[in-house]
Subunit: 498 residues, 3 copies
Amino acid sequence: MKFALSVLFFGVFMVAAHSIQAAEPTVSEATSECLECHTIVHPGIVESWQKSRHAKITPKQGMSVEGLARKVSSKTVPDVLQDTVVGCAECHALRPDAHADTFDHNGHDIHVVVSPNDCAVCHSTEAGQYEKNIMSHAYTNLNANPLFGKLEARIPGRAKLTDGKIAFEPPGDATRAESCYYCHGTKLKVAGSEVRDTELAGEMEFPIIEGWPNQGVGRVNLDGSRGSCSACHTRHTFAIEMARKPHTCKECHVGPDVPAFKVYSASKHGNIFSAMNKSWDFNAVPWTIGQDFTAPTCATCHVSLLVNTDGDVISERTHQMNNRLPWRIFGLVYATPHPLSPDTTIIRNKDGQPLPASLDGEFASEYLIDEKEMNKRRQAMQAACLNCHGSSWVNGQWKRFENTIRETNSDILTATIMMKDIWEKGLADFTINPFDEAIEKKWTDVWQLYANTTRFASAMGGGGDYGVYAGGRYQLTQALLEINEWRTVREKLNGASK
Amino acid sequence: MKFALSVLFFGVFMVAAHSIQAAEPTVSEATSECLECHTIVHPGIVESWQKSRHAKITPKQGMSVEGLARKVSSKTVPDVLQDTVVGCAECHALRPDAHADTFDHNGHDIHVVVSPNDCAVCHSTEAGQYEKNIMSHAYTNLNANPLFGKLEARIPGRAKLTDGKIAFEPPGDATRAESCYYCHGTKLKVAGSEVRDTELAGEMEFPIIEGWPNQGVGRVNLDGSRGSCSACHTRHTFAIEMARKPHTCKECHVGPDVPAFKVYSASKHGNIFSAMNKSWDFNAVPWTIGQDFTAPTCATCHVSLLVNTDGDVISERTHQMNNRLPWRIFGLVYATPHPLSPDTTIIRNKDGQPLPASLDGEFASEYLIDEKEMNKRRQAMQAACLNCHGSSWVNGQWKRFENTIRETNSDILTATIMMKDIWEKGLADFTINPFDEAIEKKWTDVWQLYANTTRFASAMGGGGDYGVYAGGRYQLTQALLEINEWRTVREKLNGASK
Amino acid sequence: MKFALSVLFFGVFMVAAHSIQAAEPTVSEATSECLECHTIVHPGIVESWQKSRHAKITPKQGMSVEGLARKVSSKTVPDVLQDTVVGCAECHALRPDAHADTFDHNGHDIHVVVSPNDCAVCHSTEAGQYEKNIMSHAYTNLNANPLFGKLEARIPGRAKLTDGKIAFEPPGDATRAESCYYCHGTKLKVAGSEVRDTELAGEMEFPIIEGWPNQGVGRVNLDGSRGSCSACHTRHTFAIEMARKPHTCKECHVGPDVPAFKVYSASKHGNIFSAMNKSWDFNAVPWTIGQDFTAPTCATCHVSLLVNTDGDVISERTHQMNNRLPWRIFGLVYATPHPLSPDTTIIRNKDGQPLPASLDGEFASEYLIDEKEMNKRRQAMQAACLNCHGSSWVNGQWKRFENTIRETNSDILTATIMMKDIWEKGLADFTINPFDEAIEKKWTDVWQLYANTTRFASAMGGGGDYGVYAGGRYQLTQALLEINEWRTVREKLNGASK
């Protein structure tokens, strides 16, 4: 059995080789202490972390990588962190003075909620980009916009039937946290502390955190920072593979208001992904078009650092995510050029409303990017397309997309003209809340569901059914007809009942 | 080419080793006879079976496994079955006297439909648990509930237009079998026999079985037992891998009335599954949290035997499936604590209706589990959560879930109060059928579609769009507005036309 | 390290063996020229092609395969193509005189759009079958049917609000190309040429092609042929694996009008695919039931060459795709036997309308296949089913399917009788456009969305929720109730306002 022995020897040899390559991961003393208990009480977390790159590589090793493959973007990392892998304590005991939820836990200053500012210690470039991402302001942009507050009251709000009428009160915190703010992010707040009986250490004191748990993209953290890196880089493996796959984006981009995942998965690109991705390399950095993958995922077009087979950079990595996007196709009420600032609460249309366009469709241009910037972003997006498609293909597709933006905006104007008539005739009330009557909801259907779905279908290369029967133009034009029919019948009925 | 020879030798050696390990699978004489023909006429079935554990292991081998890894739960298995693998004859010729469809087939007493009582010969614990599963009563609970019969008439029933009105007659058997009873299960009945010309043996006689084919979870079988193990353990591989993946549950839990799969696949857990499951071990028994998988599937939370990395049992295996569920969030009309008995036809609310709550929302508590049992089930569920989440996370999530149950129940009450007014004013008729008019269907939308979707989104950790725009609160509150508008307009119209 | 050397040697040996098998792929001189630049400007395309069988095998090698494994169906292939792999020039410079978009490109006559007639040089049988496929006529069948033109105007058409009424104008070309014609295919037309500045060669002239890009199944090409093989055989890998996976079909068969993919993925077959396909062989030709796969995909039932484990042919390969389909379940307005000719513009019902049935449900039988052909197609379909299901299963399932066709057609008749009354009473207008009013759209919902969804659920073996709550019978019967309610209220209202 000489051969069998060889196999055995070869196995041992490979383990050894692997160990050398990974350079004996060193876990800090503090993290070792954490692991002592948490391996027992939270084995799932510990197992996930052990599968992570964080558990295998020290920041110093990460910083020794030169060029495009480098993942630690910070030029300097505190010495104390450099020589151990990134474990429990390295994140949850980082910057203790900055976090309102820091508490004494077995002699360590621990905080529950790790924030982008913690991650920024090693990943400063990405954290800086993310601050410019409109998603980082998703809590405030919704919560501090009085008009959106009225919409929020109508949707997850508390419906009260009084004197034969339904009125809406704002939703409570628990409801908010699992409806709009599940994706937008909650505002966290320490509301005291409590003593809990623990399995291994008896009674221990922990902070009470309002708004917790939450991993929304615009979460307002206990150090004042915004966002949650684990929204996309799922705890505690933080695998780039997962962030690059479209299911991560699906968590918040699947409903009829923003059906990116559904459209993608029915597109040619999504088909190629579904059928072939098992042989792709989702961990390569940089990500080589054609070699590592043969069709884009969400991350490819919106986030990732892409190179061609010659190693030339096609797209720079971005966590701002809209710097390849000239248009904001999610209509409020109309599709517009992207806002200049991620803080959209400052926007006022010509009528003083906090919207990027007036209700008659005029853009609030001073708050939006200009044509030059739009062109720059279009080119940044198209740079990736052109690796697999000729210019006439890409230009033809883009013309259709901009045609669809114009046409859906035109349909929204038609709906809004009818609504203005309805409001002016007193058939519905605009002032108290323009969203809280049945006919007003039909109007929001037009711009928030059907126009958005139609545009997403267009943006991703055609989209087939999603542009027509699956919540697209079929439903859009029907809603126009129904609004008009309602208007006619109501006028008639009001006349008849006088 | 010494090396090449080694490879060849190694290959032979491995085949031999494999054979020794699997101990020369012995196929019974009866099954060999089956295979002679059926390998030719039904090669797909035979190939599937050959991939199964049943084709490789004898019951005796299965019974020799000690501890948590044991799959044969019966303490005794008839001697005649112990030493051959589980093939065609072992199941389809088992307990011939018990099955009404037993017929002579080439000298063997064969029955077409294998039932849970057949499976129970080796898997008695699971079969016993399943009898307590409300799913095993899914046929009777629907078919023998007179109120649900009225709902069934309205949905798949036969619509007849007479004198300008649409009335509904109960659906025929063919329609029933592929609408409600596709999932609930049909009632099988032998209706005689027929002679068919067969490819290999000329004319042969077979039983005619009404309600066949069907694999619904509450199928009433020809031995009087209830359910179909192959609903989840798909024939003829019966792979635990398949039962543990969420696509099995999707077969019946995907529509807006019970959108578990859709919500799951948009949840953080579903994202992790979609992106990473290719490296999970779906065959390990017991199933180790963190090691074999890094996020739960449906089976993880509701069925599987789970252990932590120390091998401690976190969750006992259950085929009752609701013993980790305090609440029944599928509203009839309201979400309530789970019924005490799997037979829900015995339930009467305070008004004598066969529903777990009255139409004004009062629970029929004597038929439902009490708070003590609810707490026990909550803890059984949370035991799994706590392996990857801290207490404050789990408790915070649970509070939101119970808030959502209260709030959706409150919205259903609002809808029902308006409907009562509508019924009392004679704008619609309650007595003949409370489900068969357009406005009544809007009311069923509220509790059967939108409230359910909102609760499923909450139950699975937030659910993003499914709690808001994708059939959740956005549609729920709109339905309230539309019911109220209908009520107002109809009263006006009735007044005007007098 | 004798063993390590052996491994090295073995590696070299395998590469050599592989090279011998693949016989040194020879790239033609013309293709080499293409690759010189396009490897730089379109690396994604080149990488995809390099993964293809086209890049590895010459037609001569393909033609040397005998029997069922043969993929080159043409008996003769021009000598000039036989000894090089199928690269850029082999397709894009083929038959230059036939293509209106042929242009001089660095001394070569190149056309942008490769057509089925190009592919037919090697794959003549498949191209010939595809000409008989109703899909190849998808452009004309929609575009040249005046009634469908009215439907198209209502859906993606331009809505204009004039004098309080909404009227629809036909959609523009850009909208058409990304709504109906995205799947149906556009009509391509050369509209001149343009000079573009290119990265590597400065200014170059290219044809301007209206309707480009498009890969719809009925695309009218610049050589007059119909269809686009890359609709399913995605460029430039053209992998049979991708065409055989259901995501390809999903590109056009996912919306509520034709929800094949959604129904499939919730079916038992789809569950098996989702859970187990990672271990299937999607490249084997012929495709062996049970061995290469254990449940059908779309291609299995509708396209592929299937054999059983004995190598007997179960189903012949077909690109006509409806020769295993007796019924056309996509209702226009009713489900009918399949049309005789792929050109459906010739069909006239008894009332002279271009529909396969009259509005009262009578089939236009002279344009449809007869019962004999229907039986032949049913048997061709069932031949595959019977490999994994007994006769009673298959027959039982089929009876339900035909029951569902009858019942949904009956429901459509009920809806249409009410609409006729509405049209006759002048509550809506039939003549100008029977699809452009709100109530008319509810009628199209019945036959185009809910009846279709119900039938697809039935056709694929039950379909659970899609036959009931997920756009099936629940919505179908509700639409009947709503149409009737609308009719009653409108009559009342008209009376009251007189």
